[in-house]
Amino acid sequence: MILFMLRMALKNALRHRLRALLTLAGIALAILSFGLLSTVVSAWYAGADAASDKRLITRSAISLVFPLPINYGEKIRAVEGVTSVSWANWFGGVYIEEKNFFPQFAIEPTSYLRLYPEFHLEDAELAAFIRDRQGCVVGRKLAQRFGWKIGDRIPLRGTIYAGNWSFIVRGIYTGRDSGTDENQFFFHWTYLNEWITQRYPRRGNSSGVFVIGIRDGGEAALISERVDSLFRNSLAETLTETEKAFQLGFVAMTESIVLAIQLVSYVVILIIMAVMANTMAMSARERTAEYATLKALGFSPGVIGWLILVESLLLCAIGAGIGISLTWPAVRAVGQALDNLFPVFNVANSTVWLQVAAALVVALSAATIPAWRAMQVRIVDGLRAVG
């Protein structure tokens, strides 16, 4: 009986070949774009997801644009529970054109890269970078994007630090896994600092953020408080939080956009729900007489309902199957086009589950009204619909 119903439902589903094809295309497209939009949303959180719980970020309590005195580093290092300290400055340079955006940081090379083991650099390249004051290290994707090789000279136009800068690529780092940002650019903090101190002595010897390595992630709140209390009521008060909280703070600043994309991804499901419900409603209506005949032969209304539901599930399963399997190539293509915007752009497992759930919801909701109608229709009325 079950096998029979499955076969009949499948045959019914594919009865109008053009309609089935159009519906499948619609479902596949909707599930695919839902998957893409979900991937965009998760890409937004990539920084927070990749954050280590053994790292804290200290910044100015006023806001990120205010620097902290470099001698804070020594004081932080002495705090109980802190294992290492490094620092970084946002540079904000422009490579040829403004649209070539990528993040650049002036760092203290040895301690910074030790704090970020996910940026993997060959020992020889690391040594070469540490040796060269004008050297820089770039991510694999970034190097690919502009075709940079080791030894290349990279010109940057400063926006915060006006002038023309140039750096020599000494190393290309690779990410530990697909969640690592391979789109960053690092150079020597001392190089930047000398430039600043020469021109604006008062602005020198400062850093944008301190990165703190801690022994135990469980102590994060305690250590943050210890660090901040060190500088309370000083000229530059600090705000220390876990790297994850720091990254989530960034996400929160553009929260409305994430929210909008999420909303829109549900709208596409609603659209396909309407299309699918329409397909099912029309098919069921055209088959009113057949369903009435089945009922006359003694089949219960429940069987009719299942027949319609299974048909809907089959269509959605095939459509969603196509849509989901197209997600990976599509994400790869879109990821390449947008890698300056989203350095990490991968299909998450949860995205696939969401796609499956969405398809299921579409199938069930599309079948509900037609199934209910077909179950309700009186045999005599149904038979009259012949011809």
């Binding site: 009949m8 089945l294 003694g298 089949f299 005599v380």
Partner: protein, 234 residues
Amino acid sequence: MSQPAVSLRHVSKHYLRGGQVIDVLKDIDFDIAPGDFLALMGPSGSGKSTLLNLIAGIDQPSGGQIIVDQVDIATLAEAELADWRASHVGFIFQFYNLMPVLNAQENVELPLMLTTLNARQRKEHASLALEMVGLSDRSSHYPNELSGGQQQRVAIARALVSDPSLIVADEPTGDLDRKSAGEILDLLGQLNTELGKTIIMVTHDGRAAERAHAIRHLEKGELSALEMLQPAKV
């Protein structure tokens, strides 16, 4: 003394159309003996199809009793009625009402899905039924690959495959040419004489009605007297 196969007692049926009560059937009262072959005739709108639907259990009367094989089907609940139809009634429709997505064999098997028979047994029964209507060689054909007469024969095979005692036919020849109609009527006569099925047939074709044992005329919801015919000679 055998019980009547079907007995109707004070059966009435009315509809509400636009706030008006329309009486389709008024106080219908008659018996059909087992093994009978009855033709119901009457002009359009006389209520003959409604009467047939009531006896077949696909419509419910507004009042009265319909006793088929000692069961008052007017009192059965929807689900019970469905089970009852599956085991007691075979249907033949004017437009055959075959499932277009199933082939002949599968269409005939359809009523057997509601029994406890296994797949092999269902196949055997269906083949046998198709053989009886002379369509063994068409068992894998789909309805749109068959002529009207052939489709109706598949429908007859479907009606008898579950071995019901009662077969109802609503204008079974209404959509067929004369030659095919003749073949279908022959087949119905065979079911009646050789298998002893009780048959009730609605028709407006006098030629078709002549094949029955008896004719009843319906006029404005009321039944005329029974008109006995000689059993048709094959």
